[in-house]
Symmetry: C2
Subunit: 196 residues, 2 copies
DNA sequence: ATAGCCGGAATGAATGTTCATTCCAATCTC
DNA sequence: GAGATTGGAATGAACATTCATTCCGGCTAT
């Protein structure tokens, strides 16, 4: 009796639904994706989705949190908190870009659903929590007089805006992410941060 | 004989539909906005929309082009092509931010619908045309050795990404757009462009 | 001048479709 | 065989679009 396999299947059915939803929500958006479409992409019946998730909104929120935790883990999991600031920034940039390249749907999904009205309190709280990490990094840079004297949020806006746009252009084929280009992008972002 | 008034009314009805669609599409997205909702917001019957526009998709495309032309006119209408590069950049930044602040729905709508699959060839062509202006500016900066040596598109990615994000944060109340902050943002963007 | 007609613009109820969600007979699992 | 799980048909709400009808300003006939 494949007992382990059994539990795997049960677990994997839930995962399969989340995986299919990730692809579809990333590509077509929340309102543009029908639940039965998610079901058939996941290879399950439409009703099965409602055994694992309360509603379409519940599904998108659980997915949001799964993906947010995954990126965060990827970046912070082995973050070199003791390294020099520029090296820390390099690590951050590299890890984020690495995630976006290896998990494009996840990146696009998170970006697309950022602060949407159907996200619930738990999802919003998770978003704030992650932002707080970035703000602490900025505060450290400012305290060390490395970053220019500007609003804390400005740095996030500039760097995150650039990264997101970079990925979108790359993903749509309008830009090729060579190592050279990525190094240039990282430098440009750092120079936007650094004190004049 | 209120001949002029008659034509005004007819013209303004079409405009009212576009105006209502702009607000709703900007706020709720394309798939999240029902046509009858646009109709009632415009104060017309649902059927009337189909007198002026072929379909929901036709409406969103005509709106996209109207708004794209409007921003472009706002920025390029009196652009100081003869000014020094940094002054040109300042003008560009100021005008874009001014548009985003005075026409938030327009800015948000354009950003939200950027490269969406329901945009038609005419809308896409207009998008490319506008991008070409920006690329020419970048090429000039590079030829003059003012901009760092990097992919042309990188500059658009960084600057435009930052501006879009800035506006989104401001619009959602997470950031206040003071003159100081905007000046800091402009400087940060310029430093991301400028040769090291 | 005015009653009555005309044609295009406007309407919103009706239509057929698609959606999120529910339900239950069939199928698993132990 | 009891209990849980499943797929997918069924359901009702909401959607984009259509169309038979109404409305209204100007024109004609008298």
């Amino acid at each position: 009796m494949p007992d382990a396999a059994l539990h795997d299947e049960a677990g994997s059915k839930r995962e399969r639904i989340l995986d299919a939803a990730l692809e579809l929500f990333a590509e077509r958006g929340y309102h543009g994706t029908a639940v039965p479409l998610v079901a058939s992409a996941a290879g399950v019946g439409a009703g099965t989705i409602y055994r694992y998730f309360e509603s379409k909104q519940g599904l998108v929120n659980e997915l949001f949190r799964r993906e947010k935790r995954a990126v965060t883990g990827h970046v912070l999991g082995s973050f070199p908190f003791a390294a020099p600031p520029r090296a820390q920034f390099h690590y951050f940039f590299e890890r984020i870009v690495d995630w976006a390249r290896t998990h494009p749907s996840s990146f696009q999904f998170l970006e697309h659903h950022h602060h949407q009205p159907y996200l619930d309190d738990a999802s919003r709280a998770l978003e704030s929590e992650v932002t707080e990490y970035a703000l602490n990094f900025v505060r450290m840079l400012k305290a060390a007089k490395i970053a220019r004297d500007a609003d804390d949020h400005l740095f996030l806006v500039v760097v995150w805006g650039a990264i997101v746009r970079l990925m979108r252009e790359a993903w749509s084929g309008r830009l090729e992410l060579t190592d050279t280009l990525l190094a240039q992008a990282e430098d440009a972002c750092w120079d936007a941060i650094e004190a004049g």
